[in-house]
Amino acid sequence: MTQKLTAVKVADGVYWVGAIDWEIRNFHGYLTSRGTTYNAFLIMAEKVTLIDAVKGPFFEELMARISSVIDPSKIDYIVSNHSEMDHSGCLPEVAAAVRPEKIFASQQGLKALGEHFHEGLDVVGVQDGQVLDLGNDKLSFFETRMCHWPDSMVSYLHGPEVLFSQDAFGMHLASAERFDDELDDRPMARELAKYYANILMPLAAPIKKALAKLTGSGLAFKLICPDHGPIWRSHFPRVLELYQRWAGSFRTRKAVVVYDTMWQSTRKMAEAIRDGLSSGGAKAVVMPLDSSHRSDVATEVLEAGALLVGSPTINNQMFPTVADVMCYLQGLRPAGLIGAAFGSYGWSGESTKLLSAALDAMKVEQVAEPVRVKYIPTAEDMEACRELGATVARRLAQAYPDRA
């Protein structure tokens, strides 16, 4: 039996025509445990308009879904809200198949698409706030620079009050259902946070500006259609609240303890630190790096108040897995964390110094000197680790008394 790929009507005259990627687990280094979707939308106005394309290999899926509504050659306009290749990968093929009258992108999108596809694509740049007449409806464009890339913009369809928000408010979650209220809340909340943590965390300043622009626009939003994951029909107010909270670096009495170990000594230290954190009333999340993915560490750090990092010394360096996570976290620019470094060593013992410098580079306020243990922790060493955990817990209790 061949599977029939059809469009899904999401509002009057608006169809989801995207692709479902059930298989992807590595999205440029982000562990997409539940797959993802590349959403694209077809507006059946007098000027038939396609909002965004999909990742290259899903070209045929996109075209099949469009064809279930209309002959693709009837599409007049294509709008590229975001030029990243998960949304533009097959744009040249779509343009060749459809031969649209025009392709629209932001001014930065015009540049970026040119730098992706070179001579291959004829694009018209639009201004912030520009309105495109679709005959019996209107589409407005709003620049949302750096949410996610310099080219990012969102489009708003006035008739049915639909916002096409590209990466904003999205998540990596493959599902047969298209709407938020058809899915389980918990995995959805988790994937929303994971997406924000891994894709949007460093962009707090532009996100605040974009949120102010949307909420201050006076427009009503009946439906929010992001480029990944479910369409928001019921829970958008909650999503907006979470975005405001995350862009404001909301933190809690949670401490993330990240470490790797060679001969179990740094692991024992992590365990003693966890003990100190827990007895001090902090919530401890322990993440051994031989089994924790960097993108899950980022998700835990999103609302954490503290970050404790442990590494043994190997060949005068910190452990490569720990260096990986520190490099990644520094790029995500979490603001307002406290923390500390710890680790065991055999003879040279550089790791804690290197970690302390890495925490400085992340602007993490270190609440104590690193705890450094030779070979195997003694009872006193374990006590020092417990005390470090307790110190962090006390600081968190002072900073966030009512955010357990």
Binding site: Q108, R145, M146, P150, P202, L203, A205, P206, R333
Partner: protein, 52 residues
């Protein structure tokens, strides 16, 4: 005072507003912005800015 634009992302540094969230007072000319200041939107250094 001369505004400067980030070549990477399009952020505009306006001396009249400065960047108070990152310790740059309103009224600071671009030349007087600390050398380790980075674009608040995309993180690139001062050397990637051009006169707007």
């Amino acid at each position: 005072m001369q505004k400067f634009v980030c070549d990477a992302c399009g952020y505009i540094y306006d001396p009249e507003q400065g960047d108070p969230d990152n310790g740059v007072e309103p009224g600071t000319a671009f030349a007087d912005v600390p050398a380790d200041w980075v674009c608040p939107d995309c993180g690139v250094g001062k050397d990637e800015f051009s006169p707007a």
